[in-house]
């Protein structure tokens, strides 16, 4: 396997972890917020979202530097980095509140935060595949 193969594989795996964390958060928040469900899913959701988010940005930037046809200042890559910050900001707020043990129902705007995370992730995926302005 070439370095490009490894980077693409790790970038993809990280993206799958990120989405798995998002799905777990969505089940907790939109599924009624029962305490037993929160206890079962929040640690996994937090770990997956954080590890996936870190992997996506690290291996994504590394790929952009490695591949001759990509530059960090390409519009679609800048858009991806902005979307990553938007999603990470919302996920960071939600994760911090949940790690403190605040019940989901008591977290202001938990549904809005998950919606922002989901929208940012969806737009990131669209951006990665359609590569607008590339």
């Amino acid at each position: 396997m070439s370095l490009y193969d490894w980077l693409l594989f790790l970038h993809l795996i990280a993206a799958f972890l990120l989405v798995a964390g998002l799905v777990a958060y969505a089940v907790v928040v939109y599924g009624g917020g029962e305490a037993v469900v929160s206890r079962a899913l929040v640690p996994a959701a937090s770990a997956l979202w954080n590890a996936g988010g870190l992997g996506v940005i690290v291996f994504g930037v590394w790929l952009a530097l490695e591949v001759d046809g990509y530059e960090l200042w390409d519009a679609w890559i800048i858009a991806a980095i902005v979307l990553w910050f938007v999603g990470s900001g919302a996920g960071g707020q939600l994760g911090a509140a949940m790690r403190q043990g605040t019940p989901v129902r008591a977290i202001d705007a938990s549904r809005r935060l998950v919606a922002v995370m989901a929208l940012a992730t969806l737009l990131l995926l669209l951006d990665m595949i359609f590569k607008p302005w590339a």
């Binding site: 798995a20 037993v36 001759d68």
Partner: protein, 152 residues
């Protein structure tokens, strides 16, 4: 030395590729939720009824629809470009997808039985749901490797 873009593809692949990848991501995400809920049900013995019902619903309205999305996207890409299906990475994808569907259906039926029984412990069927979902996550990890690296 940098590499030239190895992922150049025709523009008309974009929509089916998006459906394929989005479906695969939702599929793996839903399977991870099943693994985590069944693991908690087996470990704590607390809220077993709620957790097994959640695992069943996640399999039924998360895993199976996401599988359809992933598979439709894959078939659409293949039909657009006529990629030979004897390539090993495509064979791995088909193998994981076909075998995975069977395992996902078995897991869904078992989860339905556990949820309907409403017992205080998940029992053998609950453990089987956990093992099947965990195996599926691992298998899809192999499929992601094959799709990303396209071994000859």
């Amino acid at each position: 030395m940098g590499v030239m873009i190895a992922a150049i593809r025709p523009g008309h692949w974009d929509l089916p590729l998006f459906l394929h990848v989005a479906g695969a991501m939702l599929l793996v995400g839903a399977l991870v939720v099943v693994v985590a809920t069944m693991a908690a049900a087996m470990r704590n013995g607390e809220g077993v009824e709620v957790l097994t019902r959640l695992a069943f619903r996640t399999l039924l309205i998360g895993v199976l629809p996401a599988y359809v999305l992933m598979r439709v996207g894959a078939e659409w890409i293949l039909s657009e470009e006529g990629v030979p299906d004897d390539l090993s990475w495509i064979g791995i994808g088909y193998g994981v997808a076909d075998g995975g569907l069977l395992l996902a259906i078995i897991a869904t039926v078992l989860a339905w039985r556990v949820a309907r029984r409403g017992a205080a412990r998940p029992g053998g069927a609950g453990r089987a749901v956990f093992v099947l979902a965990a195996l599926l996550v691992l298998a899809y990890g192999v499929a992601i490797w094959a799709m990303a690296t396209k071994p000859a």
